[in-house]
């Protein structure tokens, strides 16, 4: 399957636009990459500069010859591009690559996606544009073999492409895409190119059923949002006899339309390793809910983070001068400046203030506020309403500060992450409104979930802050038993773990008569502690802002 996908890409790079290769480093991947080398791909990495992509002034050649020389960007010459660590591809780069692919300049992209966890994955802008998808993790080492692409075979197939009849396949592929819930109209076009390339690869002059099956497996399987329910077949009914092959040779087109579409759907399903759909869906949801794909998610910084192109600016105030960029900026003007300022700069570089370039970085310091809300019976229901109101008010502030928000609620026997970090206010509000109250207080479990969520957020480059709204009367241990002493010990232990990981936290005592236990817990967490007298939601929110430093 992998070999076939690579051959198809080599046959029609313009039509297929690329391949999404998912899989972690390993021998299977090495085999595939070795075979890919035959296509001579040029490598890109996620943090490549625009100059390398789009081309720019070739300074050494320009200065040496005294005439203008550009060096070509990677996107300017047709051919294969290999994007390594594609799961770390920032949205800006994804869009630039997408635009380059759309321009039909003969570029094809091989995205090597090494995503390991949920929430990572190829940016949607690229996933939508690349025709083929192969999941290497679904192949065992033993099942694969060293292979090489047959270049002569590819060349003969390419010659056949232009004369391929595609009419019957168009409608079929569009219908299947709709059945699989694929909204983008690029998908059927890419699948059509895939089927055409496959027919050419077989040496056929017309697209047949097997080409469509391959196209569905390679182009649709990973984009499928849902599979149509298969009607259970009655056990006793004998399976329909396969249709006799048509008498006339030329009737291949018609036979194509007679085959039930159910078959194509099966192809998609069998090509999917179990759990992958869920994983991809999770990645897509995480992204849609604001993971870190928003343009505003990253902040420009002068000191740390990933390097960005340097800009004109004044040194000082924390800005560092980008010496190389400054020199590059000044170099071409030397001749002119010497002419303007006679007698100066014969032995030195003439720098003007406007030449100075300062370094810029992109800093991932998005804040995620994790609200941990006690919805137990002991946190009297009136206070729960106040807590809800406070969270709602904070949401409006989080919106303006572009903060992420997560919601953990605990009651009864366990805590639950009601809402993973998100910027979606509507979602948060809805979840919060639907949060019931009553039951015991599994505080230890709530702390555990909060810690896990915070750690995960850190893994995504966000700065987590915990805000507990509870009365601190934990009475359910981690194993679900109603053991107050054990619950208290466990809560203290996790609280210390939170402190050890230096996660900023805030504890708001929502009980009517504050008790010392919660203060102790807060101290172990090194959290700020607020004991609120009866308050309305607005004062609670103001306190929160103050304690969190805005």
């Amino acid at each position: 399957m992998v070999e076939r996908a690579l051959s198809l890409l080599a046959i029609d790079p313009r039509g297929l636009r690329g391949l999404w290769l998912r899989g972690r480093a390993g021998p299977v991947r090495d085999r595939v990459l070795a075979a890919l080398a035959a296509l001579g791909p040029r490598k890109l990495h996620p943090f490549i500069t625009d100059e390398a992509l789009m081309g720019g002034l070739d300074l050494s050649a320009t200065l040496a010859s005294g005439a203008m020389h550009r060096h070509a960007g990677l996107l300017e010459t047709p051919g294969f591009l290999a994007l390594t660590m594609a799961e770390r591809c920032p949205p800006g780069l994804a869009v630039r690559l997408g635009q380059a692919l759309d321009q039909d300049a003969g570029l094809a992209l091989i995205a090597q996606d090494e995503a390991a966890e949920d929430g990572e994955g190829l940016p949607a802008a690229l996933a939508d544009r690349l025709g083929l998808f192969v999941d290497l993790d679904s192949f065992a080492w033993g099942e694969t073999d060293d292979f090489a692409l047959s270049l002569p075979l590819i060349a003969t197939a390419q010659a056949r492409l232009a004369h391929m009849a595609t009419d019957a396949a168009q409608a079929r592929l569009v219908r299947v895409a709709a059945d699989l819930g694929i909204a983008s109209l690029r998908a059927p076009l890419l699948a059509l190119a895939c089927a055409r390339a496959h027919a050419a690869w077989r040496g056929a002059g017309v697209i047949a059923e097997e080409d469509l099956e391959i196209a569905v497996a390679l182009c649709y399987a990973h984009k499928a949002r849902h599979f149509p329910e298969t009607a259970p077949e009655p056990e006793d009914a004998p399976p329909e006899p396969p249709q006799p092959p048509p008498e006339e040779e030329g009737a291949q087109n018609e036979s194509l339309q007679d085959i039930p579409e159910e078959m194509l759907i099966d192809a998609a399903r069998s090509a999917l390793p179990p759990g992958l759909l869920a994983q991809l869906q999770a990645a897509r949801v995480a992204r849609a809910m604001g993971g870190n794909s928003g343009a505003g998610a990253a902040r420009k910084s002068l000191r740390r983070g990933r390097p960005l192109p340097s800009r004109a600016g004044k040194p000082g105030a924390g800005a560092r001068v980008d010496v190389i960029a400054t020199l590059r900026q000044a170099a071409p003007w030397q001749k002119m400046r010497r002419a303007m300022m006679p007698g100066r700069g014969l032995d030195r570089l003439l720098l003007m203030p406007a030449d100075i370039r300062i370094k810029r970085y992109q800093d991932q310091t998005d804040r995620v506020l994790i609200f941990v809300v006690d919805a137990s019976g002991s946190a009297a229901l009136a206070r729960l309403a106040e807590a809800k109101g406070a969270v709602e008010l904070m949401l409006a502030e989080a919106y303006s500060a572009r903060d992420h928000v997560a919601l953990v609620a605990f009651r009864g026997h366990s805590a639950e992450l009601c809402l993973p970090p998100s910027r979606s206010l509507v979602q948060t509000k809805r979840r919060l409104a639907g949060l019931p109250g009553g039951g015991a207080t599994p505080l230890a479990h709530a702390l555990q979930i909060a810690l896990a969520t915070a750690e995960q957020a850190r893994g995504h480059g966000m700065a987590p802050t915990l805000a507990f709204l509870t009365d601190g009367r934990g009475n359910i241990a981690l194993d679900g038993s109603a053991n107050r002493a054990q619950a208290g010990a466990e809560a203290a232990q996790i609280a210390r773990a939170i402190a050890a990981r230096k996660i900023p936290a805030l504890v708001i005592d929502t009980s009517l008569r504050p008790k010392p236990q919660l203060a102790e817990l807060a101290a172990q967490m090194r959290a700020n502690m607020i004991t609120l007298p009866r308050a309305d939601a607005r004062t609670l929110s103001t306190t929160l802002s103050a304690a969190l430093g805005g």
């Binding site: 635009q99 001749k335 406007a354």
Partner: protein, 333 residues
Amino acid sequence: MTPFPFTAIVGQDEMKTAMILTAIDPKIGGVLVFGDRGTGKSTAVRALAALLPPIDAVKGCPVNSAHPDDCPVWAEVTETEIITRPTPVVDLPLGVTEDRVTGALDIERALTRGEKAFQAGLLARANRGYLYIDEVNLLEDHIVDLLLDVAQSGENVVEREGMSIRHPARFVLVGSGNPEEGELRPQLLDRFGLSVEVTSPKEIDTRIEVIRRRDAYENAHAAFMAEWAPHDAALRARILAARAALPGLNTSNVVLHDCAAVCLALGSDGLRGELTLLRAARALAAYEGAADVTRAHIRAAAPMALRHRLRRDPLDEAGSTARVARQLAEVLP
């Protein structure tokens, strides 16, 4: 390859109408197309370029001036011949540097001849034409600031390297983007006259037709272009006729009142909403060959003229389109 023919785009009527309206009256001020991936946003913008009527400009003028007297001094234009050229549609790529947008010292001349000369940037080339930004919501902030400034004043001013250069930069902004990837700043939103939201077509037959035409465009290019060329030509003629009819349209006080009432009810900031709505309704009336602007035109133009000007209410679950529709039903029964 020549762009996909505008008239061959299947469905997406609101997007096509919005683009036609800005072609009829560029003062409407551009279109913002927001929507799902793979719905033909960029295709439509590139197709529009082929549809626009040509302009008269001084030969060799970097800012496409209409008269030799208008050419900026720094351009050193010696030609006085007026040529007809296609309306410029300039792409503003995402990774663009400030220098390329505004223009900068001509590096080649400085290097080889030691002369100080200005090399015009994208803004100069877009003068009297269109500036297209794909994925506009991902544009770097400092470029957005610059665009806002120039769009406001209609003039590009470059002060650096001991140069002081200014030239007219009046252009129609066309942007497209996918809202999932980031939002647009309200200041920039307001700069777009019309905004449309596109979604993938839901009917199977429509989708099949899209694929069929696209496939024909890619694989039977010449025949496909020949088939659609008359349709595009007819539409261009209709746009020109509408342009000519625009000044003669009657706009009654009732219509003006309707515009104001809709904008008031929606609480859109400033008066730009009313102006754009009126212009869009007039262009629509001209396009349809009507003698008067009517309430029906206002109703049809209101969603695209106003949906991006509403105060953002983060907790309102209904989209802006629904809010506009709600108010329209109340105010203009």
